[in-house]
Amino acid sequence: MLLTLRSVTKTYPTSEGPLKVLDGVDLTLEPGQTLALTGESGSGKSTLLHLAAGLDTADAGSVAVAGQDVAQASDAVRARLRRGTVGLVFQQFNLIPSLDVAANLSFQARLAGRHNPAWTQELADALGLSALLTRYPEQLSGGQQQRVAIGRTLAPKPRLVLADEPTGNLDEATGDAVLALMLRLVAQTGAGLLMVTHSPRLADKLDARVHLTAGRIA
């Protein structure tokens, strides 16, 4: 199993008292599988994704990525997981503004020690970025930025790709194109994909779907 969540709970303190965002969530993802995670705003989708990525820790339950429990792991262990096993795509693109497209594309692969120039070039070609390699993020459109973000995520060939509304900031046509590209490349690397989305239409393009309501899998 690539990703396993068992009885995961997460509560955030708020000014109106503790807010339980995840309440005993169970979820699994096989290698090569693509899974859509849907739900209303505030249902806990992003929190679940963050726990799976080791960006945050669960209050209770277990989160295992590629057999390694990261629910309560140290900061350093979770950082290593993000560097080597997981790839993240965000709605806001979150490129590094001080680096050009080429450096952004290869950043995580080099950080993970798995930089393969040929593969990165193949990604750039596939994503239509070859002519934009010397540009900086602020000089790109939203769609172009998201393609760079996808390329950056796939460059180290992660085993698990986690995407949080990757087309949320793009128009429908651009979003569809970007998603199609991402699915094709994820399939090419053999990674598993967990994608948060509001859109049932986009969710239908993935292998399976789970729905989250008030912190529970429906």
Binding site: R83, N94, L99, A103, F107, L111
Partner: protein, 780 residues
């Protein structure tokens, strides 16, 4: 009002930003107005001294042997037609008591603010500064006089001083001067403008430091206001969209700034008063030691100074906020609401900055080649400092780009690229740090060079083991005879005053002796210089006279008895007056009345102490009549150290303000850094690693700024030593470098940077993942 409340709510949500703004403004105002308070107090003291001691501006008659003038002699002089007024001086109950005769005192020498002395003739009224403790039986009449000085009627003074004789006779400058008895000599008046001119350069130095500190403080204000405006761009746009005109919006922001300026100004002037009160005793000691100018050691509150402090606070705020206000005024209604990177300098503005910096540097060179005088010196300093400050971000940008290109790993590449991206936000703080460090290097080099030169010069000038001052010439003659078998040499140090090239100059007579030939601190001389002086065929000129009058070796100076060529120039630090040296024989021939009271005694050093004790015992001399050279050196060095104590204090304060500017920038930037740092964290770096890199970045930038400050500081020192000092004091000092001091300063700057970075970095290292995750949240 609604708009104002909406805008003001920003400060409630960002109290640290508000505190930084007010702190920067109040510190800038404090250092500026503190220096102004010191200057105002010193100038008021000069005025009081001029008023009280107006008689010092007049020539006076004194006895050749320094003894009091008998009443009978005074009466004879009056009968002979001398328009002279008697003055009695002495110490009474810790006061310097001056007794004057208001009837005969010339108008020009009258203490103008003392009132109508005619009304108090013969009464026990004394005029002194308000609050002066006067002994029982005397009535204090408050007057604008320096502390410790009391003026009264001559009869009262004579009685209080135990029947003292006349100290001197003040001469009416317009009256005729008949023949003078042999026992008396005319002493030329001290020129009050000399003190004013000399102290002016000191005050100019202080003002320059005050301005520098003010500019550094304004960097904090500018960055805090710039950030607050950028963060409120969305609010501005909303308010404009809701119908608030650009004029009204700018007006509301202006009102907000004025309110902040008044608060900061009030705090700043109060702090400035504290700074001035703390520094004034040192300044007073400096002015007394270096120029002989008396300044009260306590500070009076002056409304004009307070108003000026408030004015500079408001003006400074408006200058610091000008750019931001202009942006609001010209902001299109549909401007993007998302805050742009704060103070991000575009490549175009960086090019402008580089161009202006280069132009200012060229102006510095042109001023250095063609400019003369104090104004040119300070203009050079200003253009050099501003030019360098403008070029710093350009140089750092180029350096980080170069380093990024050479970096091997992905993290170093990101580190340099990210550092370059941070530069616009940090550049103001780094410019402030550069100026403070350069001022420290420059002024430190100047002071240390001065100290080294001065110490060496003292060793040369004070070659005699003992210095003797006899009470009268008869005693001097007896002592010289007594000393003959007990010393290696007894060297006359006789001095007369004479007008020279429009100034009052000192003329010294020196004996032809190896003490002078081997030790005298010559700057330049013709061959056979000492032979020429000994033969009465030349004079030595001090550096002040030589430079101010633009003289060359071989030029002549006219002394009583005929002109003599200059055969040598010597350094003469600390002396504001022109001075020439001629042979003792020439001095006696040209100034037959010269007092023959002072001598330098050459003796084996280990016998000096015993000889001094024997001299005092044999001739019943007071302790200070025989002084060893070590005591004079120690006294001179003490005066020297106090002279630069104020400069050192201002140096430390300026560096402190620069550290605060850095802290303010790092703290405000840290909140804006998250969108840049969170993705790197998400890709596998820990918060601790990121915090370490942030810390390293701060230290690196401080170190690079220190590196840039070194040549700038040395340039500053050169301008101070070779241009400003020559114009202000008339002497040029050799420049020495002190790498040990640089290392110390580098350590201090790194410490300041580390202290400035520690809170933002600690916050990042301990930041909850939730805060970092907000960067990725959809709602952001």
């Amino acid at each position: 009002m609604t708009g104002l409340l909406a805008l003001l709510s920003h400060w409630r949500r960002h109290p640290v930003q508000l505190a930084m703004l007010l702190l920067g403004l109040s510190l800038a105002t404090a250092l500026w107005s503190g220096v102004q308070a010191i200057n105002a107090e010193a100038r008021a003291s000069y005025d009081r001294a001029a008023n009280a001691l107006g008689q010092d501006r007049l020539d006076r008659l004194v006895r050749r042997d320094g003894a009091p003038i008998p009443i009978a002699t005074y009466a004879e002089l009056r009968r002979a037609g001398w328009q002279a007024s008697p003055v009695i001086e002495g110490t009474y109950s810790g006061l310097r008591l001056i007794g004057i005769d208001p009837v005969t005192l010339p108008e020009q020498g009258r203490p103008v603010d003392v009132g109508n002395l005619g009304d108090v003739i013969g009464t026990d009224t004394v005029f002194a500064a308000e609050g002066t403790a006067v002994p029982d039986g005397l009535t204090l009449q408050p007057a604008d006089l320096p502390t410790g000085i009391a003026v009264t009627d001559i009869a009262v003074a004579q009685r209080l001083l135990g029947g003292a004789g006349i100290s001197h006779l003040v001469l009416d400058p317009d009256a005729a001067r008949p023949a003078l008895p042999d026992t008396l000599v005319v002493q030329t008046a001290q020129n009050g403008t000399d003190i004013a001119r000399l102290t002016d350069s000191f005050h100019l130095n202080l003002t320059a430091f005050g301005l520098l500190a003010f500019a550094v403080g304004l960097f904090i204000v500018h960055s805090a206001i710039g950030l607050a405006f950028e963060q409120r761009r969305a609010v501005f746009r909303t308010l404009r969209a809701l119908g608030l005109s650009a004029r009204a919006l700018t007006g509301v922001l202006l009102a907000e700034l004025l309110a902040l300026a008044i608060i900061g100004g009030l705090a700043g002037t109060a702090m400035g008063y504290g700074v001035a009160a703390a520094l004034l005793p040192d300044v007073a000691a400096t002015l007394r030691g270096l120029y002989g100018a008396e300044v009260a050691g306590t500070l009076a509150f002056r409304p004009g100074w307070w108003a000026a402090g408030m004015g500079i606070a408001v003006a400074g705020t408006l200058v610091a906020a000008g750019q931001s206000l202009w942006r609001v005024w010209t902001m299109p209604l549909l401007a993007p609401a998302q805050p742009r990177a704060w103070a991000r300098a575009s490549a175009r503005s960086l090019r402008w900055q580089a161009g202006l910096g280069v132009a200012l540097m060229m102006a510095t060179v042109i001023l250095g080649l063609g400019g003369t005088g104090l104004f040119a010196g300070f203009a050079m300093l200003a253009s050099l400092l501003m030019g360098a400050a403008l070029l710093l971000p350009v140089l750092l940008t180029a350096f980080t780009a170069f380093a990024q290109g050479r970096a091997a790993g992905v993290l170093p590449q990101w580190f340099w690229a990210d550092t370059r991206q941070q530069l616009p936000g940090l550049s103001l703080a780094l410019m402030a740090l550069l100026l403070a460090l350069a001022a420290n290097v420059g002024v430190g080099t100047m002071v240390a060079s001065f100290r080294l030169t001065f110490t060496g010069w003292l060793d040369q000038r004070l070659a005699s083991e003992l210095y003797l001052t006899a009470q009268d010439e008869a005693q001097a003659a007896r002592i010289v005879m007594w000393l003959a078998p007990r010393t290696d040499a007894v060297l006359p140090i006789w001095q007369a005053d004479t007008p020279l090239l429009g100034q009052r100059a000192e003329v010294y007579g020196v004996a032809d002796h190896p003490t002078y030939r081997d030790n005298w601190p010559m700057i330049d001389a013709l061959p056979g210089v000492w032979d020429a002086v000994a033969a009465g065929q030349g004079v030595l000129a001090n550096e002040q006279l030589y430079r101010r009058a633009g003289l060359r070796l071989g030029d002549t100076v006219t002394l009583p008895g005929g002109a003599l060529p200059i055969v040598g120039v010597y350094s003469d630090y600390g002396n504001p007056n022109p001075q020439v040296l001629i042979s003792t024989d020439q001095l006696v021939a040209r100034f037959p009345d010269v007092p023959r009271l002072r001598y330098g005694l050459r003796v084996t050093p280990d016998k000096a102490a015993k000889l001094a004790a024997d001299l005092r015992a044999t001739f019943d001399l007071p302790v200070d009549a025989v002084v060893d050279n070590a005591s004079i050196k120690a006294l001179s060095l003490r005066i020297f150290e106090r002279t630069f104590a104020v400069t050192a204090a201002l140096n430390v304060l300026t560096l402190g303000v620069a550290g605060l500017a850095m802290f303010a920038s790092l703290l405000t930037l840290s909140g804006m850094r998250l969108p840049q740092l969170a993705p790197v964290w998400a890709m596998g770096l820990t918060r601790r690693q990121l915090a370490g890199l942030e810390f390293a970045r701060t230290l690196l930038l401080a170190a690079l700024t220190m590196l840039a400050a070194l040549p700038l500081g040395l340039g500053l020192a050169w301008v101070l030593l070779a241009v400003v000092n020559v114009a202000a004091f008339g002497w040029r000092l050799p420049m020495h470098v002190f790498p040990g001091d640089w290392l110390h300063l580098a350590g201090l700057s790194l410490l300041a940077a580390a202290m400035a970075a520690v809170i933002p970095v600690r916050r990042l290292a301990r930041m909850a993942p939730t805060d970092l995750l907000r960067v990725f949240a959809h709602e952001r």
